[in-house]
């Protein structure tokens, strides 16, 4: 027999499964575990390529990538995690939708930043195409993989904004969104910040 409980926001939700979380949250954690391995594989591949390249052969990312917009994108993702958490804790549907809308807007801002960055890198005299060098290939694959996760999250949030979601569904979805935020952190450090000299 399934059990229900009332949380601090007043929503009725399924009782936690054995182990502390609900079935939905457990499923999401399991998905995130497999997805994290995908990110880990890409990051390891990037690291191996960089370590094996001659010191002078690897382009200085700070010379090719604009740090300020990337930092702004990072702050947008951090802020979106805050608004997602606030959506999770919101007391009613209206407040939850407002915070979800804010998260949605910040996700769109991040994607817009990525699109603008790609536009700058692909255009101009010193364009950096996908196959320009190993750094370019790794950069587009890793950031593109992450941007697809953000896009999936934004699409999911779009559906949630149009539906009558409860706090439990928001919490489960929030796990995914925080994960996307957490995975951006090693990408930002490894690709944008790691000094070559």
């Amino acid at each position: 027999m399934s059990q229900i409980a009332v949380d601090s926001t007043g929503d009725v939700r399924p009782a936690p499964a054995q182990g502390g979380g609900t079935v939905g949250a457990t499923g999401m954690w399991t998905f995130l575990a497999t997805d994290a391995m995908g990110f880990a594989g890409l990051l390891v591949a990037y690291g191996v390529l960089r370590v094996r390249a001659a010191v002078d052969a690897w382009p200085d990312p700070r010379g090719r990538l604009a740090l300020a917009p990337a930092a702004a994108m990072t702050f947008a993702l951090l802020a979106s995690s805050l608004t997602m958490t606030l959506a999770t804790r919101a007391g009613g549907l209206r407040a939850r939708r407002v915070w979800l809308l804010a998260t949605f807007a910040l996700g769109i801002a991040f994607l817009a930043g990525t699109a603008i960055e790609y536009g700058h890198l692909l255009g101009g005299a010193a364009s950096m195409g996908l196959s320009a060098n190993l750094f370019a290939s790794a950069f587009y694959v890793i950031t593109g993989f992450h941007a697809l996760h953000v896009l999936a999250g934004v699409i999911g949030m779009g559906f949630m904004l149009g539906a009558k979601v409860d706090s439990q569904a928001t919490e489960t979805f929030g796990l995914y969104w925080h994960f996307v935020d957490a995975m951006w952190m090693p990408i930002f450090s490894l690709i944008y910040l790691l000094p070559t000299r």
Binding site: Q18, G19, G20, A25, A36, M37, V44, L82, F188, S189
Partner: protein
């Protein structure tokens, strides 16, 4: 009996304060990263500092935003993978620093 796995037993006000503090911590750590790479310090030292800041940021998101403790069994499984992803970044950061030191 409370069985709210994620919202904990804390009051709403203290919960909001904790969330805000976590966000501020993440912003500060990110600013620290940006400051570290601009420092006129040895490259290996900067990379080691970046690795430490990265671990702190990922740890803060996992602990305070994702409430990893609330869903222990599945979370531990995921935590190993996520830690592996972030850990790969940390190891590679340090490896790069080490490689420059010996060459």
């Amino acid at each position: 009996m409370t069985n709210d796995a994620f919202v904990d037993s804390q009051s709403p006000r203290s919960g909001i304060l904790r969330i805000a503090a976590t966000f501020c911590l993440l912003v500060v750590l990110t600013i620290a990263e940006l400051i570290v790479i601009g420092l006129d310090a040895e490259r290996a030292a900067r990379i080691t500092a970046l690795a430490g800041l990265l671990m702190a940021k990922v740890g803060a998101v996992l602990a305070f935003f994702m409430h990893a403790r609330a869903n222990r069994r599945a979370a531990w499984f995921a935590l190993v993978a996520i830690t592996f992803a972030a850990g790969a970044g940390v190891v590679l950061l340090l490896e790069t620093a080490y490689r420059v030191r010996v060459s």
